[in-house]
């Protein structure tokens, strides 16, 4: 059974005035395996937050099916297994961090001494120790984000849904959050997070889904997507005369005493390497230059236009 399964999700809105229909989601299909980190990637307005709101029943899908652990998320019982951090979270500023976490626990019908220990542990885990009795109106954006993560973990969820969790965080906050997310995966949690910050995504995710204009354009294991996407090869060599090298491959550069040949991804690398060796040259390295997630993302964006 999948941790999260979305089949043919569509969502349209009508404008208030002319009742014109806007199709935001045009058929989203995705699957998230248990225990993986799934990166939901897309530019602003692609439909990431709308998809997440449909998962959490904050929006009713126009069509399609959403299952968490085999159960439709429209039932409150299915949401018992989910932890959610909204984008740019705003919490009740008249509460302290501790009061807010107790309130969040109560929403899961959790109460008693067990919750007291859990709240104390969560405050420590997200690095808010010493601030537990401070009113939230005095919290910085980074502290609110940490608290948001704590409330998302209060029910010890199987599936964690994080909407743009890195937005507004400083480099230290981002690193801490990355470490925390990776530690949650080690505990067997499934993490589904949306972002448009590619660097963070590339560092963490197992699988990625790229959403553009309300539909999933590409989905798969990040390692496979990148492995399939070799842009060109770089052959680094030395101990060979420039004239002989020009006979083998016209396109090369000289850097720090090494020759660097650039070969197209479909070029004959073996033949070039053999020719260099045959001419008494020394092969220092053969590097396949792969596409980054950013390259894949921008290629998809270009193709979709």
């Amino acid at each position: 059974m999948k941790a999260l399964e979305i089949k043919g999700l569509k969502k349209s809105f009508r404008s208030n005035f002319l009742l014109k229909k806007y199709h935001i989601l045009k058929g989203v299909d995705l699957e998230v395996e248990k225990g993986e980190i799934y990166g939901f990637l897309g530019p602003n307005g692609a439909g990431k937050t709308t998809t997440i709101k449909c998962i959490l029943d904050l929006l009713a899908p126009s069509a399609g099916e959403i299952l968490v652990d085999g159960q439709p998320t429209s039932s409150p019982a299915a949401r018992r297994r989910i932890g959610f951090l909204p984008e740019n979270p705003y919490f009740y500023d008249y509460l302290s961090a501790r009061e807010f976490l107790f309130f969040s626990a109560a929403l899961f019908n959790l109460s008693g001494a067990e919750v007291k220990d859990k709240v104390a542990a969560l405050i420590h885990r997200v690095g808010l120790s010493g601030h537990e009795d401070l009113k939230l109106r005095k919290f910085s954006k980074g502290m609110i984000q940490r608290l948001g993560l704590a409330q998302a973990l209060v029910n010890d969820p199987d599936l964690l849904i994080l909407d743009e969790p890195f937005s507004g965080l400083d480099p230290i906050g981002r690193k801490d959050l990355r470490t925390l997310i990776l530690s949650l995966r080690e505990q067997g949690k499934t993490i589904f997070f949306s972002s448009h910050i590619l660097q963070d995504m590339e560092l963490m995710v197992d699988r990625v889904g790229i959403i553009l204009d309300g539909a999933i354009r590409r989905q798969g294991k990040l390692s496979e997507l990148i492995a399939r996407s070799i842009q060109y090869y770089e052959v680094v060599c030395d101990h060979i005369a420039e004239r002989e090298l020009a006979n083998i491959q016209a396109n090369f550069a000289c850097r720090d005493g090494y020759f660097i040949l650039t070969l197209a991804s479909d070029g004959n690398v073996n033949q070039v390497v053999e020719s260099i060796i045959h001419n008494n040259g020394r092969i220092v390295a053969v590097n396949p230059v792969k596409m980054t997630l950013e390259d894949i993302f921008f290629n998809e964006m270009r193709d979709s236009r």
Binding site: F13, A60, P86, P89, Y90, Y94, E99, A106
Partner: protein, 256 residues
């Protein structure tokens, strides 16, 4: 009560109790109730009657003001500030959210009314008056009226802006206190369809005058227990109907 609903009740109560505006209105309510002493000095006749009359009117006015101002923002603010995402993304149904919000505000209102009433009783005693059961009954009926007003403002707050909610709630409050004019107006009409429409409106709109027993209390006239019982049942049924309607609207609500 489920822990989740209890959590929403306590949080709603906390929100009001930590709002400076709430304290300001409670303070003015008490201040105006106590200033009835000055009015009673300036008036000829039964000073105690004037004191009770103006004091009760002041408490009534400020309690209604608190109920409307707090109620119209209740759900709207949760949606506007997106704090509702945090609640409804958890295993909390929309029905539980509305019921929790209502009970939280009801608790707030009854606490404010209780505080004002207690101070008023002490004040009457210090002014030479004894404990009056009639006044206690008046406060109970005012409490019921406040719960109906809270339910009305909650209904509007669930689908429209605070300004429109304010206009609708105040309009219903004012109409609710002149419902007796509907019968007089109906008698003047000749077309049966119009008569029927007025009759329907008479039953649909809140008859808040049913909770007003101030004249009987101040003048010391007897209260009919059956009328009182009917008013209590009317309030409970009306609140239940309003909450059911609010829940129906809120179930369809989307949070973009």
């Amino acid at each position: 009560m489920k822990a989740s609903v209890k959590g929403i009740v306590i949080n709603t109560f906390r929100e009001s109790a930590r709002n400076k505006m709430f304290y300001l209105l409670v303070f003015f309510g008490i201040l105006f109730a106590l200033s009835s002493k000055v009015v009673s000095f300036l008036t000829l006749g039964d000073a105690m009657k004037v004191l009770k009359d103006t004091g009760l009117a002041a408490i009534n006015f400020f309690c209604v003001l608190i109920a409307i101002f707090t109620g119209i923002n209740l759900v709207f603010k949760e949606i506007e500030k997106k704090t509702v995402f945090n609640i409804l993304s958890k295993p909390v149904s929309r029905d539980e959210f509305i019921v929790g919000k209502f009970l939280g505000l009801a608790l707030t209102m009854l606490t404010a009314l209780g505080a004002m009433s207690a101070i008023f009783f002490v004040f009457v005693a210090l002014s030479g008056g004894g404990f009056d059961w009639g006044i206690l009954l008046y406060f109970c009926m005012l409490g019921l009226e406040l719960l109906v007003i809270v339910a009305i403002s909650l209904l509007f707050s669930s689908f429209t802006t605070p300004i429109l909610s304010f206009i609708f709630t105040v309009s219903l409050y004012l109409i609710g206190h002149v419902m007796w004019t509907f019968n007089e107006f109906k008698a003047l009409l000749r077309v049966p369809a119009w008569k029927a429409l007025i009759q329907v409106l008479y039953y649909l709109l809140p008859n808040l005058d049913k909770f007003n027993i101030k004249n009987e209390v101040v003048l010391g006239t007897a209260l009919n227990p059956w009328t009182m019982l009917f008013s209590i049942l009317y309030a409970l049924a009306y609140i239940a109907a309003l909450l059911a309607l609010t829940v129906l609207i809120f179930r369809k609500r989307e949070f973009q």
